[in-house]
Amino acid sequence: MSANNGHSDHSDHAHGHGHHGTHADHGSLKSYLIGFVLAVVLTAIPFWLVMGKVFDKSSVTGIVLLALAAVQVVVHMVYFLHMNTKSEGGWNMLALVFTVMLVVIMLSGSLWVMYHLNHNMMPGMMSGAATSTTPDPRSLP
């Protein structure tokens, strides 16, 4: 009997919840504040790294910056956009995963192709190399 009660409580809850028509999880004050503090920290660190010139090598700084940005994107998704695997029956997450996949393919593909293009067009590899070193479009008439 108690199990039955629990079940009907659950269905009441689900019904009441759906009754608003606005079923998404809006988060609480606590989750917004946690997200905000995390975002502030994750924003302050990159600016400090660059403006304070913490690392000597810019490649190290660049990798750290990208990693921090990725973490901050996840923080925003979870605490501000309230993303989880349950929202909209999982369709939100599916669309997100699909988009991320496309973005990764497009970004890495563009960089890869263009890097090799630049590499193969280096002055000296072609006979018409002199034309590629024309300095400034402004100096042309």
Binding site: M1, H7, A14, H15
Partner: protein
């Protein structure tokens, strides 16, 4: 005990069939549809980021990122946008508590912060163009203006939408339709903040690295 054993066979005493409880179908697809729009917007920004990644170091003898970017201004802009994200969050919390006036006040603060952001960005653009470093100067500046300008345009339209919603709220109150609109704008606003993370990291901070 009888009812308990009968339950799995579909003779449920509660009014609703079981599948309504189990699967949570959205009543309308607005929020999902809007999310899919945001994902397509994400692809636009990804193209612009890719263009910047390819062209970002083609200075054509013009200024480099280290010469034209003013990081303190960017830091100020970033904090304004982040602050506007949390104030929008507060507006949503007040909406949940059904407090119209507080919702509208937080929304107005969010809009003002957005306007400050746009003002700072436009003054940065004006400064660059006045010095002859407009989008036509180099591949770097073209991709910079396209990417940052597109983001700024999104924020501008977000502000227009926000003001429209303020009037709607003033006239009709926190109706169900208005709540839905507020939630769409919430997603839009937070999404723009997510894009800005990429902009300040990839364009400004990595742009000034030697």
């Amino acid at each position: 005990m009888n009812t308990h054993t009968a339950n799995p066979h579909g003779a449920d005493m509660s009014a609703q069939p079981r599948y309504y409880v189990r699967e949570h179908h959205p009543e309308n697809g607005t929020l999902l549809g809007f999310w899919i729009y945001l994902m397509s917007d994400c692809l636009i920004f990804a193209c612009l980021f890719a263009a910047y990644a390819v062209l970002g170091r083609n200075y054509a003898g013009g200024p480099t990122g280290a010469e034209v970017f003013e990081l303190p201004v960017v830091a100020l802009n970033t904090s304004i946008l982040l602050l506007s994200s949390i104030t929008y969050g507060f507006a949503m919390l007040e909406m949940q508590r059904d407090r119209l006036r507080a919702t509208m006040i937080w929304l107005a603060i969010t809009g003002l912060l957005g306007a400050c952001f746009i003002y700072l960005e436009l003054s940065e653009f004006a400064h660059l163009i006045a010095e002859g470093n407009g989008p036509q100067r180099s591949g770097f500046l073209t991709s910079f203006f396209s990417l940052v300008g597109t983001h700024g345009l999104h924020v501008t339209f977000g502000i227009v939408w926000l003001v429209t919603l303020l009037f709607q709220l003033g006239r009709h109150g926190l109706t169900e339709a208005n709540q839905r609109r507020l939630m769409c704008l919430s997603m839009f606003w937070h999404f723009l903040d997510v894009v800005w993370i990429g902009v300040f990291t990839f364009v400004y901070l990595m742009g000034v690295l030697p």
